[in-house]
């Protein structure tokens, strides 16, 4: 059966290729740091499960030290084509260039459908909960093969180009995973219970609307702190959602649950802690301001939060 483990092996190989590209990036003074950074990530993906928690912890600290001491950095541009060359290629290949890019989503999409609605599902070929991701990995391999057969780049190009993008994103790539690890430490130190305790103390009595407001704002603020509405939800449900809104005030449980979570997502839009959505894209799109994406999202998140609070109040209590 194809499991997540296979994907981790593939990802480890791709991170190792970023390390190789970094070594080859002769014009970059930080190439050794880059190579060390991607090598450690490859080790983590390949051997993380057998290294044990302590060794993984040390690995994390070394990765952090490489980034914190500014030993990693963007690569030189010499390994790729110039803008003029790219324009010539684009004129030559035309819209067909989109096809390999679409192979990845289409393999994931059609493959998932095919797998879920045919006897393949019971064949035990792919671990059911990882189907889409496994097919995404398959899509990457197919797309690479197609690119090589069609465009005939030099053998090492995919390594160099992947490394170029990876080093442009740099440390931001592991920030989401680091924040998840921080979440684990927060949980072990009982932060969630402490915040739930604080929120539970300041519950206003007698006004359903104020309780709804506190529940939604609690979800938003806690999500902004943790970078993830999933961590906030169980705590706010235990502190306000269940005891006050559902049990005491008789609110509709499905609304309190579903829309409470969606109110939390407004917090996700407003926090740098949700790094994979808010910080990584700033690096990917080469924005000057690393908080550029968060900044433009605030003006969507606030009116949307007001909508969610009204939906909670009206659909939860008035319908």
């Amino acid at each position: 059966m194809i499991t997540m483990q296979w994907l981790y092996v593939l990802a480890g190989a791709i991170f190792a290729s970023f390390a190789l590209a970094s070594v080859r990036d002769a014009g970059n003074p930080k190439r050794r740091g880059n190579a060390a950074f991607w090598s450690l990530l490859a080790i983590s993906f390949w051997f993380g499960d057998v290294l044990g928690d302590m060794v993984n912890g040390v690995l994390v600290l070394v990765v952090v030290a490489l980034a914190g001491l500014h030993l990693i950095g963007r690569g030189a541009r010499e390994t790729t084509t110039t803008v003029e060359e790219r324009e010539r290629f684009s004129a030559r290949y035309g819209n067909k260039l989109f096809l390999p890019a679409l192979i990845i989503p289409f393999t994931a999409f059609l493959g998932t459908l095919l797998f879920n609605y045919t006897p393949l599902k019971d064949s035990g070929l792919i671990e059911p909960k990882s189907v889409t991701l496994v097919l995404l990995g398959v899509g990457v391999i197919v797309a690479l093969v197609v690119c090589y057969l069609w465009l005939r780049p030099s053998a090492i190009s995919a390594v160099d180009e992947g490394g170029r993008l990876a080093n442009a994103i740099g440390w931001a790539i592991v920030l989401p995973q680091m924040l998840a690890a921080l979440g684990a430490v927060f949980a072990a130190a009982g932060i969630g219970d402490t915040i739930g305790h604080v929120a539970g103390e300041i519950i206003p009595q007698g006004s359903i609307f104020l309780a709804v407001l506190l529940y939604a704002l609690g979800m938003v603020i806690f999500t902004m702190i943790m970078g993830n509405a999933f961590a906030a939800f169980p705590v706010m449900t235990a502190a306000i959602g269940f005891p006050i809104l559902i049990q005491q005030d008789g609110g509709r449980a499905a609304v309190i649950g579903a829309v409470g979570m969606l109110a939390g997502y407004c917090g996700t839009l407003m926090t740098p802690m949700a790094a994979n959505f808010n910080i990584v894209p700033a690096a990917l799109l080469e924005l000057r301001n690393q908080y550029g994406v968060v900044k433009v999202q605030v003006a969507t998140a606030i009116p949307l939060l007001i909508c969610n609070i009204l939906i909670l109040y009206i659909a939860g209590f008035r319908l």
Binding site: L41, Y93, L165, A229, L269
Partner: protein, 224 residues
């Protein structure tokens, strides 16, 4: 007696991000301080950190697409995305991004969250298209305007994902809500929860689309 000291870890994160220290460093320091204040020995904190990092490798998995995207960029993918839009009459930044928002929400609602995303679609396709459309409306873009258009492209992807995915019944957040309420003896089916994601999804589409149409007006006004 509740121990409030670990909350200092949160303050450290906020402070560290505000002072723009390297975020990895901020997070690692905050994790260690929080653990120590929570009366965990250092080696225990290290273990929890290492375990948490290892268990969450899945969030870093998506970067396996980078070699393909990089290779296609080498052969002019971004240039082609721009060329396609600049030939298309009536294409504006707002319209391009509203169309993408609709696709993103619908696909996410069908459970297909990872067919699109910042690395897979926004960098190679959506942002170059939005920029090309902006140049048609506005002429050559100054750096601030280009940055704003790119940021709006990334934001549109996030809004579409967040306010589409909960409509799908088997998404992890719906299962989490179901589980959390079940702990209090409330039994709900995923379907009962996911229908209540629809009103917010509509609000999100309307709000983000209005902002994108406003962006079109700004680009046009500044271009004249």
């Amino acid at each position: 007696m509740t121990n409030y000291w670990p909350l200092l870890g949160i303050a450290l994160v906020v402070l560290g991000f505000a002072l723009r220290f390297n975020p990895l460093l901020v997070v690692a320091v905050a994790a260690i301080v929080t653990g120590l204040l929570g009366h965990m020995p250092f080696l225990k904190v290290l273990g929890v950190l290492g375990h948490g990092f290892n268990e969450n490798r899945i969030v870093t998995l998506i970067y396996i697409v980078l070699p393909v995207i990089g290779l296609l960029e080498r052969y002019g993918l971004q240039q082609q995305a721009r060329a396609l839009i600049s030939r298309m009459r009536g294409a504006t930044t707002g319209r391009v991004l509203i169309l993408y928002l609709a696709f993103r929400q619908i696909f996410a609602a069908l459970g297909l969250t990872s067919v699109a995303g910042q690395a897979q679609t926004v960098r190679p396709l959506v942002a170059p298209m939005a920029l090309a459309a902006a140049e048609k409306q506005h002429g050559k873009l100054d750096e601030d305007t280009a940055e704003h258009v790119k940021a709006m492209s990334a934001a549109t992807d996030n809004v579409g994902l967040f306010y589409g995915e909960d409509i799908f019944i088997a998404i992890s957040s719906i299962l989490l809500i179901q589980g959390a309420l079940k702990a209090f003896g409330i039994e709900l089916t995923p379907f009962e929860l996911s229908v209540w994601a629809i009103p917010s999804a509509i609000c999100a589409f309307v709000i983000q689309s209005m902002r994108l149409l406003l962006l079109d007006r700004q680009l046009k006004r500044r271009g004249q």
